[in-house]
């Protein structure tokens, strides 16, 4: 992977000027490369990783992983039905997986009822969906490489040879 991507993946707030300094390149070149990545869809968007357990708001307080079994369709296979599912705003992630079920769908809702309703009224009754199994998340430890725990202070002594 290009080092520009490695830097931005770790911290999207690094400016083109800073990246240019780090990689000993021209700022204009870095800007151009980032623009290209954005245009090609390599960089899709920039967002903050939020620990929602600490936000004290009711939004998306409940998350569930839902295993979905699907009858693939002629010509489009899983694609069409996947699209119908991931287009719902309640769905935060959607993966096609190997194994005993087909789609792994992550759903977020205000509470257990909203998620349950979504599954019962939207997902499970969908044509070509053979069955679902819902797992509510109890605790998030790590997400997308980020450990959701307050960082403890630096353990190094402040000065050493």
């Amino acid at each position: 992977m290009d080092e520009i991507l490695e830097i931005l993946e770790k911290d999207a707030r690094r400016t083109p000027e800073e990246i240019a300094r780090m990689l000993k390149k021209k700022t204009a070149g870095i800007k151009e490369a980032i623009r290209k990545y954005e245009k090609e869809g390599v960089i899709l968007k920039y967002k903050a990783v939020i620990n929602k357990e600490l936000t004290r708001s009711d939004d998306s307080a409940v998350r569930a992983l839902i295993e979905v079994n699907i009858i693939p369709q002629k010509d489009t296979g899983f694609e069409k039905i996947a699209e119908r599912i991931y287009s719902f705003p309640e769905v935060s992630s959607c993966y096609l997986v190997s194994g005993t079920y087909d789609l792994l769908v992550v759903v977020e809702g205000k509470n257990i009822h909203t998620v349950a309703n979504f599954v019962a009224e939207k997902l499970a009754c969908m044509e070509n969906v053979r069955g679902t199994a819902t797992h509510f998340l109890l605790k998030k430890y790590k997400e997308d490489g980020v450990i959701l725990k307050h960082k403890e202070g630096n353990k190094r002594i402040a000065i050493s040879y």
């Binding site: 080092e3 490695e6 830097i7 911290d11 690094r14 800073e18 300094r21 780090m22 990689l23 000993k24 630096n154 190094r156 002594i157 402040a158 000065i159 050493s160 040879y161």
Partner: protein, 385 residues
């Protein structure tokens, strides 16, 4: 009890900057660029393997020389990485960091009055360890040649009593390293003067602009050199205290004798962790190295743009800028910067008197801290114009 402390220890030069260190340690919210160790925590796979070894009951002494498993892995690693041939049976000794290896070799080879050459600025313990072993440390200032030792320096400082030269590259505190070509030239001077080379290459994996060449990989050097390395810097394992010494059988055997009476063996948990580092630590190492390199570019560019002249360090994680343009001494610069801006850096004079006019800044700190530290340093320079 007036004379309870030995003459030898009393005569040891006390570190002039201890007072400054205490000042830093006593202050709160300091951004410290004075730290001589990685800011990363040991990669999890290494920590996990140590925990597992404890669960499995590995809590005993090991062979004095170190676990055979570890010595074998070190031998294989040195062969594949640097093309070195060391027999794990009798040419490799696992030590408590490079520090112990250095102490052991000095005590093994020095008779009272023997001299040891040390390029200056040097890592602080070199002269002390030589003196404690009964030798006489001879400093070779390198400021005039951009902190690079030249073959003629060795010729100049050698006399009949000179027995060895301690060499450290990439270097703490300057970050200077040597290309294969430069090492070849130094090699001739070392052989010509019949010296034993003690090569401390603990920062070897953190070399940025060219491939690191192990000094002992050059022709004839294996018989005339002791190779010291460890896990602290490459694998962020400073607190584990594991290193190793490789060299001619007779020296390793002498070192093992002292090691067995004084240390017995390196902690088995640390040795188990070191095994894992050699097997599966490469990926984390490469990641950390890329991160250091990016910080290096940032730091050196910042320093030069604010008027603190600094050469591009080729390795380690230190910048060693000149602060002569401020008109301050190294110690004054550091004390004022600390009091004014809460940023700690180490006076060059900690590493030898000839490094007056320089300071050591470590870039083993997060990018956020580095950014903030250099904003503060810039403010400090503006105020002191």
């Amino acid at each position: 009890m007036d004379n309870i402390v030995s003459k030898k220890v009393k005569e040891l030069q006390p570190s002039g900057i201890r007072v400054f260190f205490d000042l830093v340690l006593g202050m709160k919210d300091v951004i410290s660029l004075g730290v001589g160790e990685p800011d990363f925590v040991t990669p999890w796979n290494i920590r996990e393997s140590a925990i597992f070894s404890l669960e499995e009951g590995y809590t005993s002494y090991t062979s004095n020389k170190g676990l055979m498993k570890l010595r074998l892995q070190i031998a294989r690693f040195l062969k594949s990485r640097h093309g070195l041939d060391y027999n794990p049976e009798d040419e490799i000794l696992v030590t408590v960091g490079v520090s112990e290896g250095l102490d052991l070799v000095c005590r093994s080879i020095l008779n009272p009055g023997d001299k040891v050459l040390i390029p200056e600025p040097y890592y602080v313990s070199y002269p002390a360890v030589v003196a404690l072993a009964g030798g006489i440390p001879v400093s070779m200032p390198t400021e005039k040649t951009n902190f690079k030792l030249k073959p003629k320096d060795i010729d100049k400082y050698c006399d009949k009593k000179t027995k060895a030269v301690i060499f450290n590259y990439p270097a703490n505190p300057t970050g200077v390293s040597y290309t294969k070509k430069e090492l070849r030239e130094l090699r001739r001077a070392i052989l010509r003067n019949k010296l034993l080379l003690i090569s401390d290459e603990v920062y070897d994996e953190l070399t940025y602009d060219f491939e690191h060449t192990a000094f002992v990989s050059l022709p004839q050097m294996k018989e005339h050199a002791l190779y010291l390395n460890g896990f602290s810097k490459a694998y962020a394992m400073t607190g584990w205290r594991v290193g190793y010494a490789c060299g001619p059988k007779d020296i390793i055997s002498a070192m093992t004798k002292i090691h067995q009476y004084t240390i017995m063996c390196v902690s088995i948990t640390s040795q188990m962790a070191a095994c894992e580092a050699l097997v599966a630590g490469r990926k984390s190492l490469e990641e950390m190295k890329r991160e250091y390199r990016r910080r290096r570019e940032f730091v050196i560019e910042r320093l030069n743009s604010m008027g603190l002249k600094c050469l591009m360090p080729q390795g380690a994680f230190y910048a060693f800028p000149s602060i002569k343009s401020t008109g301050l001494s190294s110690m004054d610069f550091c004390q004022r910067l600390l009091k004014d801006q809460n940023v700690a850096v180490v006076p060059g004079t900690a590493f030898g008197p000839s490094a007056e006019g320089y300071v050591r800044m470590s870039y083993a700190s997060s990018f956020e801290d580095l950014k903030e530290a250099f904003t503060r340093i810039e403010n400090f320079l503006k105020k002191n114009k």
